[in-house]
Symmetry: C2
Subunit: 196 residues, 2 copies
């Protein structure tokens, strides 16, 4: 039930995206080295309290790429195929130091189709086209009443998004994710940073 | 033949890595925004002319994650399973502007095992442990005699590596890669940057 609801809410707008092809990409500068940015808030909210669609996340820190292909999920995975997951640079710097997700952390999941299953390197799954993004933000003040202060957002093709109804995403994350509602068990980059 | 040779040369040392577990990770700052770094050379060579093993590539720009799982390749893929691929920040900035790989480009492929094939999000492939890295460098002066000036390096657990014999990698890249011997057909981040 909750998986179905998640799918419906997070992916509304995806057909439009599929029709319009690859998403336009605005890359704003990101930096893991600029220490003046260590307290920077990468999650921006508009006056309506909606999360503004992040545009520069492909220059953030990649943490892992779970894959749930259609052909292994009866044609209907909960989320489209590859999920390229990124954490903002300031929260990455904090995580490297403390092993914890700070208040202000934003994690973006970019969804990507399977382009082909054959290449010169062998049989497998190879990334095709961008399909859309989802995001989660931890904020102790803004989301004081949410489990572990995380809220979840699905964008479809929208420029901003309200937080999903709490039960849509957080129950699954709370039950199954390894650390603080984040699926670090699938993100080797975070595990390696924490183990240092 | 060339695939077998590639496997043998690139992956020598992998068993040692597998035994020693997750690689130690030294993360040095990287930046896509610091304009003073736009001409920075991220590929470092020692006095013997060997490429020094990059340590900060997880803070470079992720471009895609091809997957060639064991169970789809008779247990013996040409490369281990997930390949997380990164380009250095200065060459990324150049690519965004020109759509070309500059002399000085270094691309790192980090190899990651499949950790599990089941998760809360469905059936699929989920990243497990780091296994090692390979890299390619384009340098018009240093590799003037190599096809398109690219040379290829496999590290196993070594701190530096000599360029592979030319035929080991470049023939496959030249024959199958979409742009300038780089498999951009599998890297949606590069394709999107180029299409702007």
């Amino acid at each position: 039930m909750s998986k179905l609801r998640t799918k419906k809410t997070l992916l509304s707008g995806l057909p439009v995206l599929l029709l319009s092809g690859v998403l336009g990409m605005q890359v704003a500068p990101a930096s893991a080295s600029d220490h003046s940015h260590h307290n920077k808030e990468y999650a921006k909210f508009n006056k309506a309290g909606e999360l503004v669609r992040p545009t520069d996340y492909r220059e953030w820190i990649f943490v892992g790429s779970p894959l749930t292909p259609k052909d292994m999920n009866d044609g209907k995975p909960a989320f489209p195929e590859f999920h390229n997951v990124y954490i903002d640079p300031a929260s990455w710097a904090h995580y490297k130091k403390t092993g914890e997700f700070r208040s202000g952390t934003i994690i973006v999941k970019e969804l990507v189709s399977v382009g082909t299953k054959k290449s010169a390197s062998g049989n497998g799954y190879f990334q095709g086209d961008f399909l859309g993004i989802a995001a989660t933000v931890k904020d102790k003040k803004r989301f004081a009443d949410r489990p572990n202060n995380w809220a979840y957002f699905g964008f479809g093709d929208k420029a901003s998004a309200a937080a999903e109804p709490d039960e849509a995403c957080s129950a699954c994350h709370k039950a199954n994710a390894a650390q603080d509602m984040v699926f670090t068990q699938h993100y080797p980059v975070l595990r390696a940073a924490k183990s240092k």
